[in-house]
Symmetry: C2
């Protein structure tokens, strides 16, 4: 089983409007509602690959109930921990006229010290049955900045960390097996023009491997098996939201299976590119994945 | 008891952001959540005036449950009728940098023919205990265009109608005691440059009285007691959302009490102006109301 941690669990609402015009009233023509948060995207991709997945994190209020119900109806195992506050809504507004989506995100419930302690206990127990753990996304208000370091240390299974900002800077000190920053997040972690040197400085902070994603340019990894690179064989057009979560899913699956790093990286790039072909975060185009899997090589 | 009908009942979410920037991700700093819809605004104002009020309309799903819970916690009597679809969310985005709010409104649940028939029965029973009825706002999808005409005919108590478009054009045929269009809605109901003549043509369609609101210019009424006008004594700055619902509340309260039309109109203008002073729809500034009530005269 793989444990997908989504501390800032959400109800994702996707609205379609003709054109979003600020300072007027906009009529929504289509509403889609589903469980969201980066950890949920990772869980959906792993489930799509046939892995057994359990989702944990915090959920509260009627919004939390709605998101949990959708998660379960999608076939995912719900081990979310109740919290007194209300789960956040994350709104994505799509326009018929085209263009980039507009995101409007609530901050999330404030988690109390007792709720956080209760979560750490539950998390630790769940990791006893896990082959690997993915820690994904931002921290809800109230959770300590070093939350991911605590979880990485308490976990009975190897951990992948995919977050940003202070949560990332503090989290690497918990020595996760893999940390997956993008170029900007890497620069925030360690100075230096050369990403290999910067990644090596991050490894000195605790992680065993650093996988640096650079979107269409693919990934660079500094691993116990050496420095490796992989890139998609073609420019991929589509929906980039969730592509990084698909890469995280491939990396944690490789961590559980213990596959060679070159294979893990090629898989991460192929799955990430196949996710760009899919219309919503958490899904991937299976045909594209199979095709990319034959052509992407890490070296 | 006054029955406030809110067929397109909603959960109003008010978000505060720094500045709403389309095609980026916007972080919400404050979330307020309450029951909404024009009928709910009318009910809140009537409740604030000390009237006994009952709210009916359709409510469904977890969003409906959340809105009903807030309505009851505000002390209003909830006689909403369950519907299989999910109650709509209506989003208002306020910006710290100032400027007009942005509305983003879901369409509302599709009401089936059976659900509509069930509602008409429940409505008819509720009107037996009512002194007056306010029919406010748009119709949810699935409800027949002549819904308000049906309700006006079935009602055991006199009815005020405040809606727009086809719902208004069809609704006036049910001969409500009062119809309350604004200038644009009046033009949509009856041609003519002269609003008094246009209102008289509306009265020929069935209503006993027509009250035409013109924002800061006050109101014009064609009533069984003659043609009357009233305007606020000063330009009022503030939040105009819900001002029309406050006027509707005053008019239905006057209808129940049987006060002379000049008094009803003066009250509607005073309460509407006092609502502009209040930060949220459904509330009014009691001091401003008392002050305007002494100065506004209809003639």
């Amino acid at each position: 089983m793989i444990l997908a941690v989504c501390l800032n669990f959400a109800l994702d609402l996707t609205y379609t409007v003709d054109e979003l015009r600020p300072h007027t009233t906009n009529r929504v023509t289509e509403v889609r509602s589903r469980a969201g948060g980066k950890g949920v995207n990772v869980a959906r991709v792993l489930d799509g690959l046939g892995h057994e997945v359990v989702v944990t994190g915090f959920a509260g209020g009627r919004v939390g109930d709605a998101a949990r119900a959708e998660l379960r109806s999608a076939g995912l195992v719900d081990e979310l921990v109740p919290v007194a506050g209300e789960t956040r809504r994350t709104l994505i507004v799509l326009e018929d006229k085209g263009g980039e989506p507009t995101g409007i995100s609530e901050p999330g419930p404030v988690v109390s010290a007792e709720e956080w302690e209760g979560f750490v206990e539950r998390f630790t127990a769940l990791t006893a049955g896990a082959g690997g753990v993915a820690l994904s996304g931002s921290l809800p208000p109230g959770v300590p900045a070093d939350a991911y370091a605590t979880l990485a240390r308490e976990s009975a299974a190897p951990v992948l960390l995919d977050t940003s900002g202070e949560a990332l800077r503090e989290g690497v000190r918990g020595a996760p097996a893999i940390v997956k920053p993008n170029r900007l997040e890497l620069a925030d972690l360690a100075d230096g023009d050369d990403p290999v040197e910067a990644a090596q400085r991050v490894i000195a902070m605790g992680p065993e491997a650093v996988v640096v994603s650079a979107g269409a340019d693919g990934v660079l990894a500094v691993t116990p098996e050496g420095v490796l690179r992989a890139a998609p064989p073609e420019a991929v057009e589509g929906n980039p939201i969730g592509a990084g979560d698909a890469a995280a899913a491939a990396l944690v699956a490789g961590l559980v299976a213990g596959t060679p790093w070159a294979e893990r990286l090629a898989d991460a790039v192929a799955l990430s590119a196949a996710a760009v072909h899919a219309p919503v975060a958490g899904s991937f185009d299976a045909d594209a994945y199979a095709r990319y899997r034959r052509t992407v090589v890490a070296a």
